[in-house]
């Protein structure tokens, strides 16, 4: 309950901050203020980090000052019915949000990184903290929430952003596309998708990105150009997957080229502090996604995800991404409601509509951008609300008459089990967590928290449990355990010495393997060099130089030699 209270206060405060800079008008002004507030908080957080002022006191002060934005008069909010419907549609996520931290990304990035920022009191980054070199807009907001001491407030805040996204979808259906039923249908299609539901209850970045993209399209549609620029900058600063739908909006909204150029440059200028920070630290501006220091290194293998990347695979992609997708494997790693794609069949008709053209552009470029990258359905979330609204806006007028409407509702409900495939496992995990209490952390994690000195610095090797270990850390995980693999490739001659020189006193090692079957697309030599060799180097050097303190089923804990 305290976590939710902190999250609600955070949301109110963010809206307050945004009211100083967002355009204040219309039924969706609350959303514009919220996105602008997140952007402002992120940039203020960047400044605090640069000054070494990441402290609970500083974040408390930012939150308190932000509340003053509420002195700028009344704010239009969604109707209570809209809020209630939205909360009901994402209710399962609330149970997750109040439960234990279980998501992998939560552990290493959205909760783990803020915890490290608070421990260091400043920003971290570079190859030892690759996740800290991303644009950290959202993670700095999460850091502010975590400074309250309530780690679950981050997931609660994200859940509130998920409710906000659904509420905005319903509002935009009504106010921008011609009917509340368009918004409700779009929101229902989204809510009946595993990929959507799974994400709502975790501290994550896909929903906040989707929310900012929606605000951007709303701002462009209503001529609020400053808000559009702020929302686009916020979306890109949260996650780069926003670039494709935003480009679609910009190219098809019918803006004068000069205005479109000004908006794009303005948004990119607001994102640029993150790139400049990396450049200042001798890193590629887009690190860790590009430009790893020697040896050259790929952040992600797109070929690992989906059902193939040949021409025929791309032709079948829309069908396979819906009907073959499996939330538990790399085969799209998620599930969406079939109507989301089927509604797009009559969408070419939308091109003639001046109102729907930017929606068409955003959906088209968003889908193409997703297809060009890794075929992981979660990456589609920033575009999905636009796809859903566009599909609903085209289909609802075609479904006039009692029988057609009945058919549409029947299709929505009958395909619900397909869209929600895999959720039963998730819900059962949550049920167990609530029934039996929070699962104890792995024994090795407990060992670290109980027995390592308070000033220890732990090298997390091939492990992502950053949030669970309450000590300063280096490395950690992302994608195919990139930080550890790169470290052992870069320091193959003396990896333990290099770790010690970086201040590490202990190491937590997770027993991992990289099944060859997941990397069939790689040349065998490259697979051996990038995946097998780092593990071999690590095991050899730990055996020769470190001391094993703890061995569990999945983890080992080592004491590293002193410098």
């Amino acid at each position: 309950m305290i976590a939710m209270t902190v999250a609600v206060l955070g949301l109110i405060s963010a809206v307050g901050a945004g009211r100083w800079i967002a355009s204040n008008e219309g039924p969706t002004e609350w959303a514009h203020a919220l996105v602008a507030g997140l952007l402002l908080w992120g940039l203020v957080g960047l400044g605090l980090g640069a000054l070494g002022l990441i402290t609970p006191l500083a974040f408390g002060a930012v939150g308190a000052v932000s509340l003053l934005g509420w002195t700028r008069g009344r704010l239009t909010r969604p109707a209570w019915a809209t809020i209630a419907v939205s909360a009901c549609l994402v209710f399962p996520g609330l149970i997750d949000a109040l439960g234990p931290i279980m998501g992998t990304d939560e552990q290493y990035l959205h909760v783990g990184l803020p915890q490290q920022l608070l421990m260091h009191g400043e920003l971290v980054g570079g190859p030892l903290h690759p996740n800290g070199s991303r644009p950290l807009l959202l993670q700095l907001v999460y850091t502010g929430l975590l400074s309250s001491g309530e780690s679950r407030s981050l997931a609660c805040f994200h859940w509130l952003l998920s409710v906000s996204t659904v509420a905005l979808v319903i509002q935009m259906g009504r106010h921008r596309l011609g009917g509340w039923n368009i918004g409700v249908l779009a929101a229902s299609m989204l809510a009946l998708s595993t990929t959507f539901q799974e994400s709502t209850g975790q501290a994550a970045s896909d929903f906040p990105t989707a929310f900012a993209v929606l605000v951007a399209i709303d701002a462009v549609a209503t001529g609020r150009h400053r808000s559009a620029m702020l929302a686009a900058a916020a979306a890109i600063s949260i996650k780069y997957t926003a670039v494709a739908p935003l480009a679609g909006i910009l190219l098809t909204a019918g803006l004068r080229p000069l205005l479109a150029g000004r908006l794009a440059v303005g948004a990119l200028l607001l994102v640029s502090p993150w790139w400049l920070r990396n450049a200042w630290n001798d890193l590629h501006p887009l690190f860790p996604f590009m430009g790893w220091p020697d040896p050259q290194f790929s952040f992600q293998f797109a070929e690992k995800w989906g059902a193939g990347r040949s021409l025929i695979d791309f032709l079948y992609l829309p069908y396979r991404a819906v009907f073959d997708a499996d939330p538990n494997t790399h085969l799209f790693h998620g599930r969406i409601h079939p109507l989301l794609i089927l509604c797009l069949l009559p969408v070419p008709l939308a091109w003639r509509s001046r109102t729907l053209r930017p929606w068409f552009g955003a959906a088209a470029l968003g889908l193409i951008g997703w297809a060009a990258g890794p075929h992981w359905l979660r990456y589609l979330i920033p575009t999905l609300p636009i796809v859903a609204l566009l599909g609903a806006a085209v289909v609802i007028p075609l479904a006039s008459g009692r029988w057609r409407r009945f058919g549409l509702i029947a299709a929505l409900l009958c395909w619900a089990p397909s869209g929600l495939k895999g959720m039963e496992g998730r819900w059962s995990e949550t049920r167990v967590a609530f029934k039996d209490g929070l699962p104890a952390p792995a024994e090795a994690i407990e060992f670290c928290n109980q027995h390592l000195p308070d000033d220890a610095t732990v090298a997390l090797l091939f492990d992502w449990n950053s949030a669970a270990i309450h000590r300063r850390q280096v490395l950690g995980s992302v994608e195919d355990h990139n930080p550890s693999r790169h470290f052992f490739l870069r320091h193959a001659d003396d990896p333990i010495g290099a770790l010690v020189r970086q201040g590490a006193t202990h190491a937590v090692v997770r027993t991992v393997n990289f099944p060859k079957s997941h990397y069939e697309f790689l040349d065998p030599n490259r697979y051996k060099q990038e995946f097998t060799a780092p593990l071999k180097t690590m095991n050899h050097s730990l055996l020769m130089e470190a001391e094993l303190l703890y061995t569990g089923p999945l983890h080992r804990v080592y004491r590293l030699p002193t410098d």
Binding site: E443, Q450, H451, P453, N513, M544, A546, E547, G552, P553
Partner: protein, 184 residues
């Protein structure tokens, strides 16, 4: 008993006949006997004829080895302090543990302690069988196995986790369990 990749007991190997049977019993949780100070998590208890030795967490991250004799009401420390003693093992009669990389041997019957110079204790505990200790030893090149009766296994690659029986030495090398038959 030999363990799989997840370090759970997977197969049972009969030392004399080398017959192998699958282990279907669930892994046994670390024993938590009613000992004070409490055993440190993740450590093994050495149960000898005369009592129990175990590792407890000491101050400043150092470990301590304690002994609870069946004949005495109170436990007593066998070694505490910066030597960071750990890995207590027993052959049933005597006890041994690692202290600053060397091995200390304790006979509870006469309270005598001996020291074996070694360079061990960094990975697996020593093996103690009928008075013979075997341990991992770090060299400049790799890890080998040495025993208190003069037996040594020194060859290229890492030989780890020694388990000694009367005429056999089991050890791990490159992820495989090896057995050295030492009978003449």
């Amino acid at each position: 008993m030999a363990c799989g990749e997840q370090r759970t007991p997977t197969v049972r190997i009969e030392p004399q006949s080398l017959s192998v049977t699958g282990n279907n019993t669930p892994p046994i949780a670390s024993p938590t006997p009613d000992l004070i100070p409490p055993p440190m998590m993740g450590t093994q208890v050495a149960v000898a004829e005369g009592g129990v030795a175990w590792v407890a967490a000491g101050p400043q991250g150092f470990r301590e080895v304690w002994w609870q004799s069946h004949a005495q009401p109170l436990p007593r420390p066998l070694e505490v302090g910066s030597a960071d003693p750990h890995h207590p093992v027993t052959d049933g009669r005597r006890l041994a543990w690692v202290s600053q990389g060397n091995i200390k041997v304790f006979d509870p019957n006469n309270d005598r302690q001996d020291l074996i110079l070694a360079n061990t204790g960094f990975n697996a505990p020593p093996s103690f069988h009928r008075g013979v200790l075997c341990w991992e030893e770090r060299t400049n090149e790799d890890v080998d196995v040495a025993c208190s009766d003069g037996v040594a296994l020194r060859r290229k690659g890492h030989q780890t986790r020694p388990i000694r029986t009367q005429h056999r030495l089991f050890f791990m090398e490159d992820g495989l369990l090896w057995s050295w038959d030492m009978q003449p």
